[in-house]
């Protein structure tokens, strides 16, 4: 039992050890610094306020794109899952957008809308909506027809039906879409920043890529990974636990 719980810890220590060995073998800070060599550049970025500024800019873009993609994708998936006619019309669109490379959408948004914040967020949102819609559509198809009939007989209002009948059934699908969604979104946000923004983690990575500063690239990448882990523990997992409470009671 204790062994099983400690497995992730040992696994992480293994990864860290692999990194240390690789860094020592390379023996070149320019190419691969050891973990402890990241300390000074990290402190320098925190002290100058650069790290927080750019982290903040990226987080705001992630929040915008995540909220928009989840809302629109859930609505779209729900409608497509419930109506075969709408699905027949929109399914080919979904396939096109699912297979459109993220980079193409980003470049087109920048070309058509301009190098603006709106274009950046639009590009990320459009990239993510199809994935969310596909997952939620499966959930909408699996909705219980008996509960549907029940809510109809008892004349539940639309809002009550959504809140108490439909969304509790969709909760596992929403959690799955949110989890894969936030991971994909922050990666695309970085590309968007890399290509056409003057702030954010992606912009800083672009800068230090040109300066060939591997340590700084790693500092920014790890900082954001930590933010995402916090999001997972403070937001996603508590939401899932709450949505699952009735199953384990």
């Amino acid at each position: 039992m204790t062994g099983a719980r400690l497995t992730p810890v040992f696994s992480m220590i293994g990864l860290l050890a692999l990194w240390v060995v690789a860094a020592l073998l390379t023996d070149d800070t320019q190419i691969l610094p050891t973990p402890w060599q990241l300390g000074p550049p990290f402190q320098q970025e925190v002290a100058s306020g650069e790290l927080l500024t750019h982290l903040g800019a990226t987080i705001i873009r992630v929040i915008w794109a995540f909220t928009l993609a989840m809302t629109l994708g859930t609505a779209l998936g729900l409608i497509m899952g419930r109506s075969a006619a709408v699905n027949a019309w929109l399914d080919p669109w979904l396939v096109v957008f699912l297979n459109l490379p993220a980079l193409v959408l980003i470049v087109l948004c920048y070309l058509w809308i301009g190098l603006t914040e709106a274009a950046a967020i639009t590009a990320v949102t459009l990239n993510k909506i199809p994935n969310v819609a596909v997952v939620i559509r499966e959930g909408a198809r699996a909705l219980d027809p008996d509960l549907d009939a029940m809510s109809k007989v008892y004349r539940m209002s639309w809002l009550a039906r959504m809140r108490h009948v439909v969304f509790p059934q969709l909760a596992p699908f929403i959690a799955a879409a949110a989890r894969s969604g936030v991971a994909v979104i922050w990666k695309i946000v970085l590309v968007v920043e890399f290509l056409g923004r003057s702030s954010g983690v992606g912009f800083q990575i672009h800068l230090y890529f040109q300066l060939f500063d591997v340590a700084m690239v790693l500092v920014y990448a790890f900082s954001f990974i930590c933010v995402m882990l916090l999001f997972e523990w403070l937001f996603l997992q508590p939401f899932e636990r709450r949505a699952r409470r009735w199953r384990t009671a």
């Binding site: 109809k152 008892y154 539940m156 108490h164």
Partner: protein, 208 residues
């Protein structure tokens, strides 16, 4: 008065219900019997307004309640919420009184999954009567319960119908249930154009 006038009901071209007309007076209980698979449940869904894809006309009051074959509760909401969410005008005190009436006293905050099947059925019965229905529809409400639990449910249903006097329409396989609860029994039989009424017979009032 509940008036049911169905000309036809098809499932993918196959006729299920043929020309079918009957009425249920306020306070009257009508049992529907017939061989399995003949379309009794389909008939109930049409009368309840769940299935609108049929040719014909049904007049029913807005206050309609349905006791499904399965309890069909909201498993992610508490026992009390299962009554209050479905009947927003109901106050929690009245809901608790109804829970006590069906023997679920003190179980307000449990989830339906924590109740036995018999208890879930009784909750579904409580939900139906909470809305003071003018029309009550029940689809084999006593099926797949052991004899003792079924008897408890039957007594409870009898009592609640006597208190609230809804027009009641229910499907059963068991003629004894039909005799006990119903004023009249409608028998369905199959026909090339879909199930039709084979006959409606009155049940002698056993109390009198």
């Amino acid at each position: 008065m509940i008036t049911v006038d169905i000309r036809s009901k098809h499932f993918a071209g196959t006729p299920v219900l043929g020309p079918l007309t009957f009425r249920v007076a306020p306070g009257e209980t009508l049992a529907i019997v017939g061989p399995s698979g003949i379309g009794k449940s389909t008939l109930l869904r049409i009368v309840a307004g769940v299935d609108a894809a049929f040719d014909g006309n049904v007049e029913r009051p807005a206050a309609t309640a349905f006791v499904f074959q399965e309890p069909t509760l909201l498993p992610w909401r508490s026992v009390l919420q299962n009554l209050l969410l479905l009947h927003p005008q109901l106050n929690p005190e009245a809901a608790r009184t109804m829970l006590a009436r069906v023997g679920l006293e003190g179980k307000d905050s449990l989830f339906p999954g924590q109740l036995s099947l018999g208890q879930q059925r009784r909750l579904s019965l409580a939900r139906a009567f909470c809305g003071a229905p003018e029309l009550l529809i029940m689809d084999e409400p006593f099926v797949s319960l052991d004899t003792e639990t079924a008897e408890t449910m039957l007594k409870l249903t009898e009592g609640l119908i006597a208190e609230h006097h809804p027009a009641t329409l229910f499907v059963t396989h068991d003629m004894r249930e039909a005799d006990r609860l119903a004023d009249r029994v409608l028998t369905l039989r199959s026909h090339p154009a879909g199930a039709i009424v084979a006959g409606i017979s009155s049940v002698a009032d056993q109390a009198g």
